[in-house]
Symmetry: C2
């Protein structure tokens, strides 16, 4: 069944006919055993419940199905420090490759997994562990954060703060770096207390709002590490009577579907989630099926796009923005 080109045309037809009549279907377990292949990829996520990831998972599943692969999911892998759970899937031959959407895992167990003798094909998506020798499909977070921050500067804001992502996450570092870069390029700096502890959840956004309200001197604009934390932040501010964008401007990151529908509609950096998922799945399956992978891990870098909505406006004191058009 796996190499029909070996038999002649007529015979192939006879076989197809027999398959039709008897309703034969290939037993995947037997094939897996013999071929040492599972036609399945394992997708490891930090949190399926998060729309950001579930949309990407959607794209992954679609691409994988097209190429005849099943998709196994493991969620909340962060707790699995030793990578034990992931290892088991491969040692037991249940999956052919790993698509990793969590940059917070320990590097060592992953190296063990990808190097001889295991040699598990691995592609990281969205969150790439820095300097790790893995293929990755990601966006340029530093640059995108610069664009977001420049947007605020362009509107005339001078006191600009940042809500961080979760501690220890690559994206947190990158987005904050872009933020700082953009400020520096305009000769601005953020007070240390304007860097608010955050995370990637709405609850953390609410907490950041409390932290914000307690500030002596408040920024007039905030660049939030993602949409969820931005939405929570806005919701928290509202309880204190602050209004966006009248009192404060907020930029998010991701462009979740809900970002257009909250009030005010959120200005944000749109990440090409569909493409991220699709390309990552493609890359992984190519790696699985292809020749031995090139020694240098390839990074595919997609770009994000600024989507301007109503959550950003010139600061209260400035009536004529310096370069709002940019």
């Amino acid at each position: 069944m796996s190499r029909p080109e070996r038999v002649s045309g007529p015979t192939r037809e006879r076989i197809a006919e027999a398959v039709r009549i008897t309703g034969y279907t290939l037993n995947q377990a037997a094939r897996s055993l013999r071929q040492r292949t599972a036609r399945t990829i394992l997708v490891a996520l930090p949190d399926i419940g998060n729309t950001f990831f579930s949309t990407i998972l959607d794209a992954i599943e679609r691409e994988a199905a097209l190429r005849g692969y099943g998709v196994l999911v493991v969620n909340r892998i962060a707790g699995d420090v030793s990578g034990r759970r992931l290892h088991e899937y491969f040692l037991s031959n249940r999956a052919d490759g790993l698509l990793l959407l969590d940059g917070a895992l320990a590097l060592a167990p992953l190296l063990v997994l990808t190097q001889a003798p295991a040699n598990v094909p691995l592609v990281m998506a969205c969150e790439a562990i820095p300097d790790a020798p893995f293929h990755a499909v990601r966006t340029d977070n530093i640059y995108a954060a610069e664009v977001a921050t420049r947007h605020l500067i362009g509107l005339g804001h001078r006191r600009i703060g940042h809500i961080q992502g979760p501690p220890g996450n690559v994206l947190t570092t990158e987005r904050q770096t872009g933020f700082t870069n953009a400020l520096a390029a305009s000769g601005l700096t953020a007070q240390p207390e304007w860097i608010l502890a955050g995370g990637f959840t709405m609850e953390r956004g609410v907490a950041a709002a409390e932290q914000f309200m307690a500030l002596r001197e408040r920024p007039s604009a905030i660049f939030a590490a993602n949409d969820e934390v931005a939405i929570g932040f806005l919701s928290g501010l509202r309880r204190h009577g602050l209004e966006c964008p009248r009192d404060i401007s907020v930029v998010g990151f991701d462009d979740l579907a809900v970002a257009t529908h909250v009030w005010p509609p959120l200005t944000t950096m749109r990440q090409p989630r569909e493409a991220l998922g699709r390309l990552a799945a493609e890359a992984l399956i190519d790696l699985i099926e292809g020749k031995p992978p090139s020694r240098v891990p390839k990074h595919t870098v997609l770009s994000s796009e600024l989507i301007v909505r109503a959550s950003t406006a010139p600061p209260p004191s400035v009536s004529t923005p310096l370069s709002a058009a940019s």
Copy 2:
């Protein structure tokens, strides 16, 4: 390895030791082939990208992992009318059971799947196909819709409308039935044009808002089939300058995480999503591992809870609500 009780204590220890030294792990493909079992369940979803489902998937994955099962996901199965894709997973022995979260599938192919000779264990979750002989874990949608509608009536609303779910979905019918029941019990009826075409997405909610704005006589309150459509509806109304709850009250359904953080925070029926997912996975795995299933399919019915937030208030004209406390 699969029945350690067959060997004596000392021997078992020696084996454990050998496993440790050699780093042996069981080849799942070989076991699957011999045992005709995959230790994997297949979860079929209408849309992973939707938070509602992804949260449930989260719970399913957790429960499955506890019991040593992997989770394969198939998304957007609605397009697969013949059930071909689902069939293949079982014919090829890749999964031991099916957890179906989509009530919109054709019944016939599912019956073929669950009956001899295939006999695939199947549990439906959330959306149970009516009168189908399958086990199910679900909530009482009719009753919950009644509760939601009664809440509006209790606030003093008399002109109450409904945004429907997607056509052909069980939940659409059930929630509308509960809505109509509650009105009838209070001697009220909804004008036919107050029943707005909707769906389960924010986009449909925006469209429903347009439909709403075009009405001659507008309801003072709306019961929406779910939170997403409610959020889209509110967002659409805002563009026309209508304010909630001043001009209109809205009740949603599901209690998505974002429901607290939109403006105004949404009054909604909370569905126990974590429990739905967990119990469904439990039921399915019991079915897979257990004795031949009882001939009568069992429905586990969980209840939803009214969460009152700021999107509902007495109607503009009524200053003293009749029984707002209820």
